[in-house]
Symmetry: D2
Subunit: 378 residues, 4 copies
């Protein structure tokens, strides 16, 4: 069962994640799911009026609903230690992560930050160094690593159950861009496809980097080179909306496919791993199931019910067969970070080093594609 | 998207649901999931020391952690209106529901109560009358009706999409009783198999009644007669652990199968409905999918993504493909009850009338089985 | 791999199964699939002209295409032993099976007969006695027992892998009757719903009896009593098109559900078996997979690829992953009967004793339903 | 329903496909499945004694069981037109296809040939020219295009239902090489991994070329360039056993992944197609199902039962829900070729032009991989 209570609830402040934001609600719900933290402060929007309105709607103490993020950091750092926030969640467009996360760290707070960590590689490296110097906790919400069966997959591989890992196939397929009326502004997340704000990549930066991180996390393979082929199929698309990247180290080969133009797919994040002794498959849309295959033996479905699933137990709240989902997985990462913030032992979670890797991945994928798939270092 | 904020957070008190309780945690998490309610008081155990310990662990105000449920009701009713709890959640063994729910109503509180509503039929009827007189809200947590695709199924049928419903098959299969070491006390929920506490039935009362209610809720058919065949396969089992009930009204026939002795099943609650114009299938363990079938047309998977799923939208929090699960469905019932508590329009939720029906169902199933499957009125 | 060649190809004569017949083509293809038999004679229709036409279309020797079945039996028995047919396949409406199979036996031929063996119980018993006296082979084409994974299921149970079997659920659901325009004659198989020709039951006689036999075959449980509830939902339907039967012996309980009014189901024959040590599930529409479940162990998918599937090997022709289907399963029964016809050891196949049981099952289901589900002996 | 009888059964001669051969039995069974052809002659092995033994076992006329293939072609061409074989099936190792198919054509026979058509590109082109000059029918058994739902997929795309096709993902994953004991000779098919006999590629030549052809056949896209990355993971493996190829034309991008080292996969051939208006998925191991997805509409499962499946009707023998498999699909290609041999209209089938394309594909994949994934023309 999932981590028990801390000595006290940690105090959360959030930047961004206002009224229309899907991810803001996810952060609030996940952080508070297990009653180990409480949202007490926020600067919800770059528009002060919107920020105040959002804070009121969430019934926050008006004194701690701030018009701007600078106000929030300033005011909170001056509060007494037993009042001020413990951590800041950064739930804003990509191009602001560097400044916001850096400022929150500088103000002495732990940081929870949406991926990608930054838009530029140099920024990512600089931020990672700042984290290291600060002694603060930095959680990058590659949230799919919070699923119990993903943890189980990692443990099976770490324990050698699958032997040496030689081939990995991972994809993240969505279809929603096919439904975007041409020329029309998308109600939220529209910035994701503005080159300036999203960064150098569209779909690969958005979901491809999740897929890559998942493969990295589960197999712990560190690829050294990448060759990629991207496409922008959508009419007027400035950034990629489809692509495939082939990665390799000395031995293994990893294929990452990402799409936001595949009709009918919602969040089809699928991981397949081939080892010398066995292979496995996991799909995000059916997260409670991990398939383990070994020649000459029956195909095994590892659910949260025993049968090898003990490894995942720390990451689960309910008896097997009662479905857990996205929020729970997201909350599992928060919990791991909370354990570390509270000074205790914590499960592994994605941090600033993963952030640097992720930003580099996105950049080299784009660069390789621009050079006709030339192999580039990672 | 799920219901927005109320004017203020509703205040929750809980009876039962202490340290080891699975369902207590579910109630706490579900009720607070959307930040529309807050747990402020509790009498967590029939053992005062345990109650105090549980309240401390949950960081409640010690003044509102009570040694007994009578204390809680007494003290809370005397608090000023803007402090005292709004509703009481009853999360205790079956044999206490009647007294606790009745007392909470008498103290002026809304009630959220685990099913079955009571152990006896007369008690259920008496409690239902009390609810009616009280003007209070009564939510019976037949939680499976909180899933979005269950709501969609109900709406499809209500709208006539499937034509007249003629046949229904529903089952709830579990396997955990096969793992109970003979003679050994089960860590929690053990009372479920003590005839005195659980009521007249084991498995049919526990999960069979959920299955029955699901069929009732989705089809709105009210069967008038039942014929049942129960078994107690477990060594030393006093109560049924397997059985099948056939129900009918003038036209339709409904089959309810319940098991807790089917190896490898965790919470396999499956509903199949046959109408003159179409049929559908829903499975709790894959709750985001509803299958709709019409001869001569492709089999359709209705996910939370469009394609007919609009009906379910009020009951969902996340974009399609990001799995929602048990907690979310449970929270959907709380939200519906909250809307009604707040005096607004609410979605349908299981209430005291369903409670009476459910208790009668359990009793008549057991009685019919005792009489070799004789048809009895429902 | 499937049985090897016999010393010579067995010679097949067929009664019925003409031009429009689906099952006639299945018999011809299955019997000849492994090149162990050859169709050499036929009386394909009760209409002599149609019989002749069918024989010509099949390029049979015109001398052995007969205008009537009596001609065929007469002429073939007089041919020299190395020319005449070895066996007669009876692929005609139910009401003719008794006379045709009996006559073929009397003429000295082995018989392959569609189910049900006869329409009446007394006829079935009389025919079974005739088979016993004749020393001829009698294959009743309960063809679903020919699937490799069905054989594997039987072997797992026989070997005690699942422990004592206590509960079985089997259903055969179809939907095609929902598509029959009212009052319109169905192109083929229309006799199936004429009380005179089909026998006393519609759907239960047609597909329910397959489901029952499958449960019998796999578990080897012999139920002693039945309680049934049938319905005729189709407008103007004289015979049942939906129903559920509960069966029991001293210990076990078996539920058989049959439908031909479930939209979107084609041939959904599904078997679920619960034993003290494990449970299993098999579905005809995905025949190459058998699911084995044991608490505390992963759910296992037994395909034709190793992993326990060795038992099924005699019943398979292809490497795993290359799908085998209905024809192959049908051919497996023919092969078993061929082995016995050739005087060798044969795998188990449904025979005249199963035929008697099946006819009794159908009659007692109908009788029980007529008496409000009263328990009747089987 | 599948093609009806021809005026007479076509006469089949086979080269190769002897006792231990899996594919020989498939050819015999598939060609004769619908009683439109008959095996009458064979040269089953390069070892004359084995050939004679195989022919005897198949009960062929001993006069037409030949010690060598040259004998067979010589003798058969001299038989009268109403006796001699109509076509020759070449079921031998890859390196012999060129000579055998060419000789059979030269002798005036139609040819059915296993893929790849030849080992070398020049040979393939020469053979294709010979076919063109000969006026004979040439069927290359890319058998997976024989499945009804593959035909339906092609028709849906051809009719514009999916709009312009922009992305395709296809893979063929097997695992059996992981079970090959090091240094041990594999009982059959061992030549597949001898560079001399198999050609320049192992897994890509064997199953990757099937995957490529499937994508080609269904989408009718003709890629112009390929970039590939192959691996030989098996200890001592001279040829590739894993790899990924990216293909493109002016617009579309196709990914082909092939493996024979993925534990637990048997014949996982899966095709995914993304069009502007819709996407589809088909899996060989569940061949009766085609999934069609369009944003905003339910996911549709197209089975052989209506609902858009009419296109596939010519390629099916059984009512929906009665599984058809590999043999039936294989037989569908034979039937198409038979129709053309008989001078009639035929459905599309893979022929000598596909053969040339396939050989070029294999060579360029290997060449690109050798040059670090450089884009090469196809």
């Amino acid at each position: 069962m999932v981590n028990g209570p801390l000595g006290r609830k940690l105090r959360m402040g959030i930047i961004g994640g206002g009224a229309l934001s899907f991810i803001g609600k996810v952060h609030r719900t996940a952080a508070q799911l297990d009653l180990r933290a409480e949202l007490v402060a926020g600067a919800f929007s770059s528009d002060p009026a919107k920020s105040i309105a959002a804070g009121r709607q969430l019934a926050l103490n008006p004194a701690r609903v701030y018009a701007t993020w600078t106000e929030m950091l300033d005011a909170e750092r001056r509060l007494p230690a037993d009042k001020r926030i413990d951590f800041v969640t950064v739930a804003t467009p990509n191009d602001t992560h560097f400044q916001l996360a850096g400022s929150a760290l500088a103000a002495g707070f732990h940081v929870v930050c949406d991926k990608p960590m930054t838009n530029g590689i140099a920024e990512a490296e600089q931020l990672a160094e700042q984290v290291a110097r600060s002694g603060r906790v930095f959680l990058l919400t590659h949230n799919y690593t919070g699923y119990p069966q993903v943890r189980l997959a990692r443990q099976l591989i770490e324990s050698g159950e699958l032997g040496e890992i030689q081939a990995v196939r991972v994809h993240y397929l969505q279809g929603w861009m096919r439904s975007r009326p041409p020329g029309q502004v998308y109600p939220r997340g529209n910035w994701k496809y503005e080159a300036g704000r999203a960064g150098v990549s569209g779909t690969f930066g958005d979901v491809g980097s999740h897929a890559y991180h998942l493969a990295r996390f589960v197999t712990q393979i560190r690829p050294t080179r990448v060759s990629a082929t991207l496409r922008a199929f959508s009419p007027g698309g400035a950034l990629d909306d489809y692509g495939v990247a082939v990665l390799r180290d000395d031995r293994a080969i990893i294929t990452v496919t990402a799409s936001q133009v595949t009709h009918g797919r919602a969040n089809d994040l699928t991981l397949e791993v081939d080892g010398v002794l066995g292979s496995l498959v996991w799909r995000q849309e059916q997260p409670d199931e991990l398939t383990l295959m070994r020649n000459g033996r029956p195909r095994e479905l590892l659910t949260r019910a025993g049968g090898g699933a003990d490894a995942a137990e720390r990451f689960t709240r309910l008896p097997p067969g009662l479905p857990e989902g996205f929020i729970e997985a997201f909350a599992n990462l928060y919990n791991a970070a909370f354990d570390k913030m509270a000074g205790g032992q914590s499960a592994t979670f994605p941090d600033e080093r993963d952030g640097v890797e992720g930003v580099r991945f996105i950049h080299q994928v784009v660069a390789s594609s621009a050079e006709q798939g030339r192999w580039l270092p990672l």
